[in-house]
């Protein structure tokens, strides 16, 4: 069931409602194994809700999510052992240092202590957090918090990474490091799905993507299938039907 032809992630009729608001409206989506998959869409399109349902943080009202064929909600232990997660805007036990969080998570996942220590050390060095070994996460900058969360996602060597806005608030040098790590991960057979607002980044990294708008998938496929002959940014604006004027009023500005 875990063969190469099995999708890394599969949404089947996924549905979520908050009161009267339908956040995710019967989404069907396949993220091929070994792909670098971008999830784009305007604010409130349902990206975070979809990813939260895929990792077991938000219970769907309908539909299924499968990770390498394992239903996240019917067989959570197997499904969760295959994924690494970077959520957006969630807390960490912030009175612990970065190394302590990694050590805690590694042991919680049942890794031997020496493996945890070795991997934690490497991750902290590669992500340039080794200078803050004794700093509690509460004193980290937003970018540093993003990086230590990415380290928690990578620590147990998952097969699929689900990353919600991984590049937001990260400085250009760190962003380049993260890009390299993710590209190496995909080249070695891993799969990545990440959400982003930065079209240039998606265009540069991803081989596949899906565009979400108002809780629905409005376009999906390979990068070239979705953007056609134009830039992804132009294609995105055309697909979601956004207005891009900003030209009316403000005549006094810089006059």
């Amino acid at each position: 069931m875990d063969g190469d032809d099995t999708a890394a992630l599969e949404f089947d009729g996924l549905f979520k409602r908050f009161g009267d608001h339908v956040a995710v409206d019967h989404i069907d989506l396949i993220v091929p194994a070994g792909s670098f998959f971008g999830l784009v869409g305007p604010n409130g399109a349902g990206k975070t809700s979809s990813l939260s349902m895929a990792v077991g943080l938000l219970r769907p009202d309908g539909g299924t999510v499968r990770i390498f064929g394992h239903d996240v909600w019917a067989d959570p232990v197997t499904a969760k052992s295959l994924i690494g997660v970077l959520p957006d805007g969630l807390a960490l036990p912030d009175r612990l240092t970065g190394r302590e969080i990694l050590r805690f998570l590694g042991l919680l996942r049942g890794l031997p202590r020496d493996v945890v220590e070795q991997r934690a050390g490497e991750l902290l060095t590669v992500l340039e957090l080794d200078g803050a070994q004794t700093t509690p996460v509460a004193d980290y900058s937003t970018g540093m918090k993003k990086k230590i969360t990415l380290a928690t996602a990578l620590l147990h060597s998952p097969r699929l990474l689900l990353l919600d806005e991984p590049f937001e608030a990260v400085d250009p040098v760190s962003a380049a490091t993260i890009r390299t790590i993710l590209q190496r991960f995909v080249a070695a057979g891993g799969s990545v799905i990440f959400s982003s607002h930065v079209m240039a980044l998606v265009e540069r990294l991803c081989d596949h993507l899906a565009v979400l708008a108002a809780g629905k998938v409005v376009a999906s496929g390979s990068l070239d299938e979705v953007r056609g002959a134009q830039s992804l940014e132009d294609a995105f604006v055309g697909i979601v039907g956004a207005r891009t004027d900003g030209a009316e009023g403000l005549s006094w500005l810089a006059s």
Binding site: L57, V77, L90, L96, R103, G106, L108, P112, T134
Partner: protein, 517 residues
């Protein structure tokens, strides 16, 4: 510019006094008005000892000045006009400084202080018109001093109190002061007696020599026609105000060019020193227990709750001892355990959205609950048992042994699982301002009754009839029965908490996330 700042301040205050906060503000205003009226009444009263009135008024003025300085430090400098708003304005620091100082006088709380400081006029009026006039001048000077000192304090301590460490420190200090004040209120009659009977020259000397006491000393001197001392005191107050006003623009300029975070990111040696990982086994349960133990040592909320539990429990026992009664002493340890239990009934709500880490790790719910149970047991258990045994032995209340040996171990064994279960079933996220929500406070208070009722009812069912019927056997039988029930309750409630977290983890997470500020 002063006008604009006052308008802005008024708009901010209007926003802060609408809706559900209006009632709170009204109650606070009523309380402060009562304090002000009380201060005024202290100035009107006649005392037998000659300088007693000045002692009392000097002490109360000190209290008001401390209130002016500590108020903004406790609430942070974002109440009213926040200095950071003006950082980018093309206005010279001196002009901005004096404008802000002027705007600071447009403060409703000045009305309360006016009533309170009018006690100086009342004090003087007892000796004649001249002393009353001196009192009026001293009142105005004290008012100006209060406003100016508060502004200077914000400029000096603002960067510190805006930083996370500063807020942590302020929260700890505030909790400590409130706890100690509420406990020390029983000492007020004693202090008041010492101030008014003239037998404590040191105490009255201290309250008079502080700048807050100069106004009262001036009035006292005027009543004795000691005009030299009167003039010196009033001139001293005026000079102090002048010094503060002159230093203000310089302090403000320093404040405006500083990062609010204080930029003093120090790595704490504590984070290196405390490594229980070396002792705990390298297992998932050891990992969760290690995380919990570290958080008990480092989280402000957790250490504050432990500190309050300890202080209240010990102080309640000791206050009894001061009045010659040791009957309550054996139960201090039990009170500590009980308060520490009630405070930790919201484990998942208090930890916030960090719960995602547990939910994305397969099978982690079980060890998460068990680690929390074990950590509370390790933190509270030994301290509670030690307090109980030592204080019962010291008290000499031998009749209390079966009572405390039944109740304390039962609480230590039975509570941790029960707390995890309550925390998994009832999740209270923080209030919009980041503090504990009213529902969470209510739960803590309810737990003070419900938790001991559930854990201790089998013990009580034997102890009370044993005491009434003078049966030593029944009373000692309560010890094994209480422990057996606690073991049963602890295991069952731990299992229930695990089942709850496994089945409803995402819903618990959603509840916490919805409340996250």
């Amino acid at each position: 510019m002063v006008g604009v700042l006052i308008e802005m301040r008024a708009a901010t205050m209007r926003r802060q006094t609408t809706g559900k906060y209006a009632l709170g503000v009204l109650l606070l205003a009523l309380f402060v008005m009562l304090l002000a009226a009380g201060t005024l009444a202290a100035g009107l009263r006649h005392y037998h000892y000659a300088g007693a009135g000045a002692n009392v008024v000097a002490t109360l003025c000190f209290g008001w000045l401390v209130g002016w300085v500590s108020g903004p430090l406790v609430t942070g400098d974002n109440a009213g006009l926040r200095m950071d708003y003006f950082k980018l304005l093309p206005v010279p620091a001196r002009k901005l400084g004096y404008a802000m100082l002027g705007a600071a006088f447009a403060d409703v709380s000045l009305a309360f202080s006016l009533v309170a400081f009018a006690s100086l006029i009342a004090l003087g009026a007892q000796s004649g018109v001249a002393a009353a006039l001196v009192g009026a001048v001293a009142m105005l000077l004290d008012l100006i001093l209060a406003v100016v000192t508060a502004q200077v304090a914000i400029a000096v301590f603002g960067p510190v109190i805006s930083s996370r460490r500063g807020r942590d420190l302020t929260a700890m200090l505030l909790a400590l002061v409130i706890t100690l004040l509420s406990l020390a209120s029983s000492l007020v009659p004693f202090v008041a007696a010492r101030l008014t009977d003239g037998h404590s020259p040191v105490l009255s000397g201290v309250v008079r020599i502080l700048p807050s006491g100069w106004g009262a000393v001036a009035v006292d001197a005027a009543s004795r026609s000691d005009w030299g001392l009167t003039a010196a005191c009033l001139a001293g107050l005026a000079a102090l105000i002048l010094i503060l006003v002159l230093s203000w623009p310089r302090l403000l300029a320093r404040r405006l060019t500083m990062s609010p975070g204080g930029a003093r990111r120090r790595t704490s040696a504590r984070h290196r020193a405390l490594t229980p990982a070396a002792i705990l086994p390298a297992t998932p349960l050891g990992a969760v227990t290690g995380r919990e133990l570290r958080l008990y040592a480092r989280s402000v909320l957790r250490s504050m709750m432990l500190m309050i539990s300890f202080l209240v429990a010990v102080a309640v026992g000791l206050i009894g001892v001061f009045s010659g009664k040791t009957v309550g002493l054996p139960f201090s340890g039990l009170l500590f355990t009980l308060i520490a239990a009630a405070c930790f009934t919201n484990c998942y709500g208090d930890d916030g959205t960090a719960l995602w880490l547990t939910l994305v790790v397969p099978g982690a719910a079980r060890v998460d609950v068990r680690g929390r149970v074990l950590a509370w047991f390790l933190v509270v258990g030994p301290a509670g048992l030690l307090l109980t045994v030592v204080l019962t032995a010291i008290s000499g209340q031998t009749w209390a042994w079966p009572w405390v040996l039944a109740a304390e171990p039962a609480m230590v064994i039975g509570c941790p699982g029960l707390l995890a279960a309550i925390g998994a079933w009832s999740v209270n996220g923080p209030a919009p301002d980041g503090g504990p929500s009213p529902a969470r406070v209510l739960k803590t208070h309810a737990a003070l009754i419900v938790v001991p009722a559930v854990v201790l009812f089998p013990a009580a069912a034997l102890l009370i009839p044993g005491a009434i019927g003078h049966s030593l056997l029944l009373r000692w039988l309560a010890v094994p029965v209480a422990i057996a029930w606690a073991v049963f309750l602890g295991r069952r409630s731990t299992r229930a908490a695990v089942r709850r977290l496994e089945a409803r983890g995402p819903e618990i997470f959603s509840a916490v996330r919805a409340a996250a500020p």
